[in-house]
Structure formats: structure tokens, C-alpha cells
Symmetry: C2
Subunit: 153 residues, 2 copies
């Protein structure tokens, strides 16, 4: 199954968080699950803060790219367009807010679930929650802004 990120044009597929062509990066893959979006990601042993727990900056990164991907997919859907149809829709982050609800255990696969809160012109607000073994450990919100066509050209 193709992930949202598989539809990004080649020149916009180098993001450290979600670019399929960034071999050093996280290469997250995001999918629809009904009205929600879902990404699964297993941190590396070195993605730690305090031993035994996941680094908060990684969680912020996962929330960030999960939400910008969700913003793109939701906008295609709202416009009744197939993902990947021209012109490409790609979003950058205007603001990222994360609350760390409890320590996230390092080891298990994490699930990030997203929900679109608002689509308004070129701005999409997406909320995401990180779960470890079914427990919500972090929650974030991203204000995603549609990228100017000239950006990355």
C-alpha cells in the first residue's frame, strides 16, 4: 500500500522526517484509517532521553511530519483529488506544539494518530497523539501551511 509520502514529488522527498529518499532520516509512512491518519514507528536504541525512554525531540519530529503529511492528504481529499495528482500539494510547518503527557518507553513500536481540526485556505490544523502500548504519551498540534509553488523548485 502506498503511504502519503510515496506521492510526494522527487524534489520534495528529502525531508529528514518523512522523505523516502533521505537515507539518514526517519522515513515515516502515513496512511488513512477512516477519518484518522496513522503512522507506526519504532525508535532506535539511541533515540533516548533518559535511559529507557524515548527522546522528546524525536516525538516532536514524528508529530511534525505526521501532521504535514495528514494536511496534504486531507487537502487532496477535501478537493476531491487523487493523491499525487498535479499540481502537488505539500505543506510546511508554521507552528508545532507538543505536550509530553508521560515518559514514552523506548522499545515498543509507537503509533501516531492524527485528526484534522481545520482546513482554511492554505492552512490546515492537525492534532496528533503518540501511543506506546496503547497509552497516550504525547500530544501535539501542527499549523501546516501549503508550501509556495516556488519553494524547493
Amino acid at each position: 500500500m502506498k503511504a502519503f509520502q510515496d506521492y510526494y514529488p522527487e524534489n520534495l522527498s528529502h525531508c529528514y522526517g518523512c522523505g523516502s529518499r533521505n537515507l539518514h532520516g526517519h522515513r515515516i509512512r502515513t496512511f488513512w484509517d477512516g477519518e484518522e491518519t496513522v503512522t507506526r514507528f519504532t525508535p532506535e536504541p539511541y533515540h533516548t532521553a533518559v535511559p529507557g525512554f524515548v527522546y522528546g525531540g524525536l516525538l516532536a519530529s514524528l508529530i511534525d511530519c505526521h501532521c504535514t503529511g495528514t494536511a496534504a492528504a486531507a487537502t487532496y481529499r477535501a478537493e476531491g483529488r487523487e493523491m499525487g495528482s498535479e499540481p502537488p500539494l505539500r505543506f510546511v510547518t508554521g507552528a508545532l506544539n507538543v505536550s509530553y503527557l508521560k515518559p514514552t518507553p523506548l522499545g515498543p513500536e509507537l503509533t501516531i494518530r492524527g485528526r484534522v481540526k481545520e482546513i482554511k485556505g492554505r492552512k490546515v490544523v492537525v492534532e496528533a497523539t503518540v501511543y506506546a502500548e496503547g497509552v497516550a504519551t504525547a500530544r501535539g498540534e501542527v499549523v501546516a501551511l501549503q508550501m509556495p509553488e516556488t519553494f524547493g523548485a
Copy 2:
């Protein structure tokens, strides 16, 4: 000169963002500059979002660890204690909010400057700004919480 992070006890020096013992991580180093704190960091070529610009998740990570380090140093200072004196003071992130003011060019060394907004019991609020070639490109705020003594033990 010793950075704030050089005073962290060994078991708390593994953080991906600021742990001197995490060989895969960013190993940021933070210092006082008068009443402000400063970290300098040069992203790797693969820390990209759109080609030519720095990945926002990295900027969030730098702000995060810069601010928790600042929270520790400011608390030692407020208590009139030398950094590294026992018991160790170490902070975790309760909330992280970042506004991306403009694209951050990838290449030049970045400067992150921090300022303590509030010290209240075990909670310290720190504001940080990222500069590239003298231009502020991102601004963030961290609510840092003093780590329970049992954490990471």
C-alpha cells in the same frame, strides 16, 4: 570551557539531543552569555526539509535541549550552587512550542539563544530563538520540569 551538558551525571548523559555520551546524537553544548544562554550547532547536509533548508524537527530538538539545559543552569544559579554540585539538577520537557518564522538556510552554523522567563518551584519556563546568519528563523518556548530523583536511576 565546560558546557552545561558536561556537568550532567553519567547516567543522564545519553540524551539524543544533548548527551555527551550519545555518539549518534546532536551533543549540543550550551553556555552562559551574560543573562542569556547560547548554543551553536551546524546541521548535517541530511538534516533537511526541502532542499536548501533545515528540517524543522531538528530545530525543535535543538530548542528543546537548549532550554532544558538552560533550566538546569538557571536553577543552580538561582540556588547559588556550582553546576555539577550534588544533588544533580536535571530537567525534562513538559511542553514544547515552536513557531517557524521563516525558512532556515541549511549550511551556516546556527546560533540558539535562550532566556529564562520564569522559575517557579520545580518548573522553569525558557524561551529560545534560532538564528541563521543573524536572522531569527524560529522561536520556541519550553516548560521544563525538574526530573524526579528516581527517574533514570
